[in-house]
Amino acid sequence: MAERQIPERLSPLEPVFHPGSHGNFEHGVDVILTETRPGSILQLAAWPGEEKRLIEAIRKVTGLALPDGAGGGVADGAKAVFGFAPGKFTVADAAEGLAAAFAKVVTPAIGTVTDLSHGRTAIRIAGPKAEWVLAKFFAIDFALPAFPIGAGRSTTHHDVFAQIQRTGADQFDIYVFRSFARSFWKALCHASDEVGYEVQ
């Protein structure tokens, strides 16, 4: 049997991804845009009444302890998890293979595991004007007291679904459909023009 080639991951942003400083950066760069390219992006859903067992499974597999409450989440730099709907969670990991690990632990009695690693693109916006730029896109409150570090939000930008996790005081990771990622990225670059942005 022929040996299987490991497929090379291509970014949907590639044709419009231009590292360097752009826009009005003469007075400094106020946001940094990057693609975080997690190896794994999953959606986990618990059947009604099984939420606690799913949260326990997340702790077992990732080591991340979800805080209580709707939209709660936590990120440790390599792995991230947050609630985006009742009983539903997005989990991301820099490494591949997270779906296989969860499939062993999330039994059919607890809920479902959906591997979206190839279906979502993760875009990070960081910097002192990150909140301000995102506020032009989404009608939600980005202020730190309303949107704490680690927390997740489900919302839309012009009918394009976005799941947003705050991964730092001035840093947000945005998960969008891969097929819309390029257009979203271009819009985000335009929105960042006036504050000066750097693509890394």
Partner: protein, 98 residues
């Protein structure tokens, strides 16, 4: 107009989709009761005032919601999950400790 999703908190109405009159009761699928089917499909209270409605937070957490909206003032006096068993996951105060 803001609608307070029990999971996501207050969101712009643009994120929500109206799913119809919340007073309807669907007959059993094998029901032969034509009057019941007729009522389910056609009869509406159409009140000038508080109205039970089903909405979906389609541009957010995508859960279906049961709401009471005043058809004269648009005031929403209550919202909750259409499937009432998610109370444990209901939103805590934004940013607050659980």
């Amino acid at each position: 107009m803001l609608i307070t999703c029990p999971y996501c908190g207050p969101r712009d109405v643009i994120e929500f989709t109206y799913q119809g009159d919340g007073n309807r009761e669907r007959p059993q699928p094998n029901s032969q009761d034509l009057d019941a089917w007729n009522a389910y499909v056609y009869d509406r209270l159409n009140p000038a005032g508080d109205h039970n409605e089903i909405w979906q937070h389609s541009g957010g957490c995508r859960t279906h919601l049961r709401m009471v909206r005043n058809t004269l003032t648009h005031e929403i006096s209550s919202t909750g999950f259409a499937r009432g068993d998610h109370n444990a996951a209901a939103r805590h105060k934004a940013g607050g400790k659980s």
